[in-house]
Symmetry: C2
Subunit: 326 residues, 2 copies
């Protein structure tokens, strides 16, 4: 890593405590945090790991955040796909159950950083799902997350919860169970990706206006229909036939399909072990657009939830930094 | 329709009884049948309705089958998407319950054919699924098939069955219940299309060899895993993690994913009303490649089935022709 040091930036109140970085597949963003975890400054960059050639990670990092490192304590934690095999430095998955201590112990420290800098990549988590009864020759099926574990840690601190179910909607939604301050298990659902494939690339795309504004009533109809027995492969076809019979317009159909797919995710969790504890606190973490839909979906099934946004990432990295210092 | 008549073809034993045509979205095929329904000659053409401009259907038909019409009884029945809004002549859906009589009564006869020719398009079927409990403002959800009803009719005759469950695997699989010689209801599953989207266009495509030969053991593992509670959105992700952890190679993964998707279709039917009657005869209709997979999947759940191929279409059109004549 080159030792080029950027000039001093604008004055901040006291020495900043942590440079927090969320380096995902398609985006890169960072925050300079003070000793209380308050955000001094935030920066987004269109430099997801997909855009970075192998070997270029240190240079991209320094260009984006070098000045922050120079005027802070020098500690930086990076979460997300930067720790994957295709990222900056592979940080092998930490096995569940995993809390702050287990993850902090498995941080992957960048070797030979510029003097005074300490940069670590946060590992993702893995867990094993038991095989279905009778599963032939398969000991279990692994599941993984990378980046969401930090959001969950942050949400635990922000919501002051050591137990609960944490739901992170997205391309690959995660439902995680937290018990006694540790993530004990989780499940991935390809909800966002399947919605995109169905609405943009399947036969349904012919009659759906994928960019139509959100239609709450149509979304509610999709949620309800998804609770039937016959599963998503069957329910999705109703988005075709409702158009064919002129019973729903192209605009609402997009929200209806969204309800079908998110409703399937909820249905699957309602019958799975993750949601068996109906008294558990339910926390949604994600963009307002998505957490709003999930909150409506959960409310329609009588479940109350609370929502947190991107601040959970910074809170999670800050909490990890404090564990390192302790 | 032009009255151009092709010259007499090679001599056949006696006057042929029916020109049977299966005109689908991407392919067109026909059979010349004798009075006993035996195939005298078959012809496939790459002229699915997608390739035919509006107004060109009569000319394409005559080019492909005009000589057969000239040397037969002059009766032709056409099934499949030729009866859709984008086809030759729209044949509105016939509502379930529907048997030979109901469908024959709703044949859409081509107007002003050449003298001596009688050409009819067979209507597809529709049914209504009851709304899920609490479904807001939706009276029911329609389902449709076009072409499969003729295959089911043919299979009923070939298997000598007036009752049973008929399964037609494919891009949009159909599960139909036959009672007392009539199709009383059915469900569509977007199984083939979702498999294609997942294996070719999702994140799974990066680690799956979609064109690998069929792997029976991996397929069985997928079938088993699909019987878990968490649904396809969750189970599909296991095709990613098994690759990530080096537990399954790219070739078997294609069959594993096929097992996950077909297994989901079976799981959904196992809990739905269609398969509640476990004593019902189970008939598979389709290509050998697909019916073999479904037969294995059903056997793995202890259900015996029998399989029929494309001959079901000709038998179904022949049976309808006999109803017209009776």
């Amino acid at each position: 890593m080159s030792a080029a040091r950027p000039p001093e930036g604008p004055q901040v109140n006291g020495k900043a405590s942590l440079v927090a970085v969320d380096w995902g597949t398609s985006s890169l963003r960072g925050a300079l945090l003070d000793a209380q975890g308050q955000v001094i400054e935030e920066r987004p960059f269109p430099r997801g790991i997909m855009t970075v050639a192998p070997g270029e990670f240190p240079a991209v990092f320094e260009t984006c955040f070098g000045d922050w490192l120079a005027r802070s304590s020098g500690l930086c934690l990076v979460s997300g796909m930067a720790g994957s095999r295709q990222g900056w430095m592979e940080a092998p998955y930490c096995a569940c159950p995993a809390g702050f201590g287990e993850v902090a112990a498995q941080l992957a420290w960048i070797t030979a950083p510029p003097p005074g800098w300490r940069i670590a990549v946060v590992p993702g988590l893995s867990c094993e799902h038991a095989s279905a009864p009778g599963l032939q020759g398969m000991p279990g099926v692994p599941d993984v997350m990378r980046g969401e574990e930090v959001q969950i840690f942050g949400a635990m601190r922000l919501a002051n919860l050591n137990d609960g179910i944490f739901v992170l909607p997205g391309t690959h939604s995660k439902w995680a169970r937290v018990q006694g301050g540790r993530i004990t298990g989780f499940k991935t659902f390809m909800t966002g990706e399947v919605y995109a494939l169905l609405s943009q690339h399947s036969i349904l795309s012919k009659t759906i206006a994928a960019d139509a504004p959100f239609d709450e009533a149509a979304f509610a109809q999709g949620l309800d229909h998804a609770q039937g027995d016959a599963g998503l492969l069957h329910h999705a076809f109703s988005a075709r036939t409702l158009a064919l019979f002129g019973r729903m317009e192209a605009g609402p159909l997009a929200s209806y399909l969204s309800g079908l797919v998110i409703g399937e995710e909820l249905r699957a969790n309602a019958v799975s072990d993750l949601a068996a504890d109906t008294d558990a606190a339910l926390v949604l973490i994600g963009s307002a657009n998505l957490t709003r839909r999930y909150a409506q979906a959960l409310a329609q099934q009588g479940a109350q939830s609370r929502a947190l946004g991107s601040e959970a990432t910074w809170a999670g990295l800050m909490a990890l930094a404090q564990v390192i210092k302790d």
